[in-house]
Symmetry: D3
Subunit: 248 residues, 6 copies
């Protein structure tokens, strides 16, 4: 059940069954010479909708732009500041907590979002406590990174070994190829790609990772791999969501 | 050309031809018993993509959640505070202005966004001036409401007369039916619907407009109407965009 | 009844009769070679006091500085950022709402304030709802631009036609001449004056409108015109205020 | 020379002679049963204009609402939060510093503003340093409380002794009587008036000082005293301003 | 009783006896060629612990970094902006007020903190009032500067006369020598030292006070003097604290 | 070399040798019935000073209060909001980056700080880039948790196995016993202790972990263990710091 395709009356009915909602959160940032700028949002959205179908959960609109400040020296990247993203999450959660939602599950496609999301959750709990409405202390938020699930991680290792890297990875590129086969890009990729895991500011990042990749070889990606990642992620995150939403 | 389906290298090339980008901005809010919660985002996104195709403009990711605080007493509505939305717009524009974009065109589907967007633009210009990078004083932002274009407005009057109303209107519902024919909703609609144009806080809004509509009869909407609205809006906003992006 | 000339005991008594208060809001910004920097505040204040007398309403202190960032490349202009003005309005309204005021009527003299005021009202309603005090959901704010009233608008068209323009207009200059006949300024005015209605950042504004006027010929203004504008505006806004303060 | 009665061309000329500007800052707060709510703004404005005339200094619009949170349990009081007032001062000073003003002299009528003003000045200097425009490091701000000048203080002691108190004082009431003789108020004043100098939150304040006065007997005030205070303050602050504006 | 050396169970027990807590607040800023950068925090911490012992009060962790923006042109100085420090104080006080503390006593070692602390207290009271929990209106905050106590002030005058100056004073240096005799520094001190009491931005400060001192001769300091200052301050502030914590 | 025991002249000299600084960051929060409220700050400070001695690095003042909102239902806990802590880190780093520091190494004692610190680093890089001073793009921040070092982690597993738990752990308690042997606390500990790793709001936390511990048995701690942890952590983090400060 997708929030944007529902009416408020349908949401009112849904709330009698469940207090949970899933938000896909991605990023709008460079993903190397062949990765789509929307990669992280595309992956999170596709998987979230799959999880929504599998678990009959409500899926909110995708947060397309996340915390990608370190990518902004590459044209086309768009980022919120962490302080802005905290407010965005606060506003999303308070809007829905006031009408009865208590379980907020963020399916995340971008490592750079995690720290800020966790900071935001702490800020949200404190904000809700100050508002002092019933159930304020029942609200729980969780972020799950689709690419960190054990089955997904294992699959990536099997298919790509060390060439998975850590940004513009073949696994995420494969998933976007599965979702958007019409948007598969080709470009020469330098076989030498830096990978030192360090991330500081935007100018430093571009100096350190000149074509945007971090240790990855996205040329290995195929749409068929993407289907496998999709299915593994949906299966694994469906379990995680159900555990989250039913647990005390 | 859609930003999320492009690579940073393609964006770099695009910037040699144009400094313009289009952002669809909608809302996630109740639209009466039969209107989709995503109505405003769906309409803005569809039209923005049409305008992008017609004008070869780059279209950024849709801003799905806008300023809809007054709708938040209806379950499923999600809103940013105006102060948050101002920061979001500031972050979007500064991310892209720093790499050379100078024309930001927001195709808007929700009246409640307009004031905050305009406030945000003023904040953005001042912020950019303080950063003092080249072209900071060339940056221009504009919001165009698809439903306010003269051809769209005329069509709505012809098709629906006074029953167009001002929220959960048949015109916007028709457009969503055209985009998502699989998500056409049916529900009984009270023929008496309040319409006094006043909007204050969320609780007041729900008291004043008990089923969420403001003077509208969305039962008049058809997917065919939606197609007409789509085409009229794309045509009109394509002209507006081209005038904006080429003007000094 | 003017707030600054009243005691708290008089305000306490007033609250037994009415929950309404009027705030004049203007701006401190260039108004061309002959317009006073305080024009917008002077007009709003004079008219608000007239409305206050006509309707026995309480009139608060004038908000002299508004959102005029686009004028700040001309010396003497002072502006709040939109984000600051939102906080100012929030503070004004919450101070008074907590002691029982529920109708806040802003008589506005500056177009650049409108978007931010509207954004501020939405922010205020949400803030008050979170505070959760009695009547929080009864609070209503409204902005009325004196220069947009139909009788004022018609008078300006009659007297000045196209030379009314949109900034440093003869109508507002006339009104300041009526209020401050001792401060009527003379300066040569270039008969060619740009008028394209576009407003972006401060540097762009000064490039576009080199002497500060936007399409206007303030040399047409006279104190006698000013008196006519004053009387028309007071009459019209008195009705608007009374309708606002008595309406549900 | 009053800013609101000047044109930008006159300000441009003024800047060739002086980089100084005076801002009156008051408050909108209860002043006991007989003191005007606008007392602090009225006094600051009158004296600032006197100083402006005496020194040929430019006088900006009065900041009518200051930091008076502790008075807000009395109806009619309006206050900015300290965090808001800091932003207001930042916006005022940066607007003018960018066009060349470097000396900002605040003539203050309200003790509750002082701490926040001083905090704001520090914030302003840091903000300006970050903007990095020429002369940013030349900007100086100063606050002078008219009621703390030695001649004013001495006069108050002579006229009222201990009955001067520390809020709703006969000296400030006298000054408002001189400025607005038509707004002299009468009300019974309890001869027992608490005076312990402690100020915490708004509810505590009203408990502690039930009629709003702090140790004062404003019934002693006369318009003739007000004239003496006015003249003493203008004389003393004119010297202070000239010293400030000419000093390195 | 020191908070950092206590358990929550001990604090729970303490709250049955007292609602008061002491926070030392200092600064991390240059103190001339021989003064320690931590001088203000060292002094405040030592005295606060002494007062805590003398009065059986709970002493919280030292706020080591305060508002020292004007010192930041000297390497090693660290400062919060006033707007940040206000939030820090708000967070400290609300954390503890919610569990029952109502008396917050800040022992301060740095003049630059005072204005911001006072602004913060006002902000805190308003914040707590909005949270609306029991006893919110009982919370009281106070700042006492150890160096302003009458016995301390008198001692400094006796020992150093005019050479006490106003920054990097022999009295505060002496106190740090008493606390950290192993960290007594020697450096040549120019006998000519500027003292004009003016403080604006950081660059201006360093121009005005080239070696960081303001009119002081810290070479006069001795550890023995430091002991005297310590004892005088502890005695005097213990009285002040007890008066504060027991007063209505 | 400790910053608070140094003069600005010594810091100026240090900057010729190194651009690195270490900040201990802890928390002021409940650590179960026997753990000290200052545990995290005590551990971070002791280790940071050890690392400072071992590597001749400058060590800044301890950040005693961190992000511990989830602990604030236990009396004595003090927390910054994440949004506040971000500003604090921004202020610390910008103060020092402007005078030439480029490597900021945070030795952290509290898991709850990590997400906010990482968010803060991203915010800092963006802030510095906007300030546009030389070397802004050289600034690097890193957080290292002393308790996560491999040798420390291994030692804890050896000594305590599963009874290490995840809050109020015997390892951190041991370290505080080593540093403050005079403050070793005794209290009965329920052998049944909940451990489910979930952390949401403060009220939820106290319900879930009634005595404050998360799966730990701090009764196993001894000062001798503490010494081992101290030495292991200092050794490991000294390497980490040196690698950080010398790496490109």
């Amino acid at each position: 059940m997708q929030l944007h395709l529902s009416t408020w009356i349908e949401v009112e009915a849904y709330l009698k069954e469940s207090k949970g909602i899933i938000f896909p959160i991605g990023s709008t940032e460079q993903h190397g010479p062949t990765g789509l700028i929307g990669t992280d949002a595309i992956c999170a959205e596709a998987i979230a909708r799959g999880v929504g179908e599998a678990t009959h959960a409500l899926v909110g609109p995708t947060i397309n732009v996340g915390m990608a400040l370190h990518h902004t020296a590459f044209p086309g990247s768009v980022s919120l500041r962490p302080s802005t993203l905290i407010l965005v999450i606060r506003d999303y959660v308070t809007s829905l907590a006031k009408v009865g939602f208590t379980r907020f599950f963020f399916i995340n496609g971008h490592g750079g979002n995690v720290a800020t999301l966790r900071a935001a959750f702490a800020e949200v709990y404190a904000t809700l406590a100050d508002l002092n409405f019933p159930q304020a202390d029942q609200v729980q938020c969780q972020v799950s990174n689709w690419y960190m699930g054990s089955s997904v991680y294992k699959l990536a290792k099997e298919l790509y070994g060390d060439q998975e890297g850590s940004h513009a990875t073949p696994s995420e590129v494969a998933l976007t190829q599965y979702v958007y086969p019409e948007a598969i890009k080709q470009a020469p990729l330098n076989p030498e790609v830096s990978q030192d895991h360090r991330i500081y500011g935007a100018i430093d990042f571009r100096r350190r990772y000149p074509d945007g990749r971090m240790g990855s070889n996205p040329a290995l990606a195929t749409p068929e791999h993407g289907k496998q990642f999709y299915e593994a992620a949906v299966k694994e995150l469906s379990s995680t969501y159900l555990e989250f939403v039913t647990h005390r």
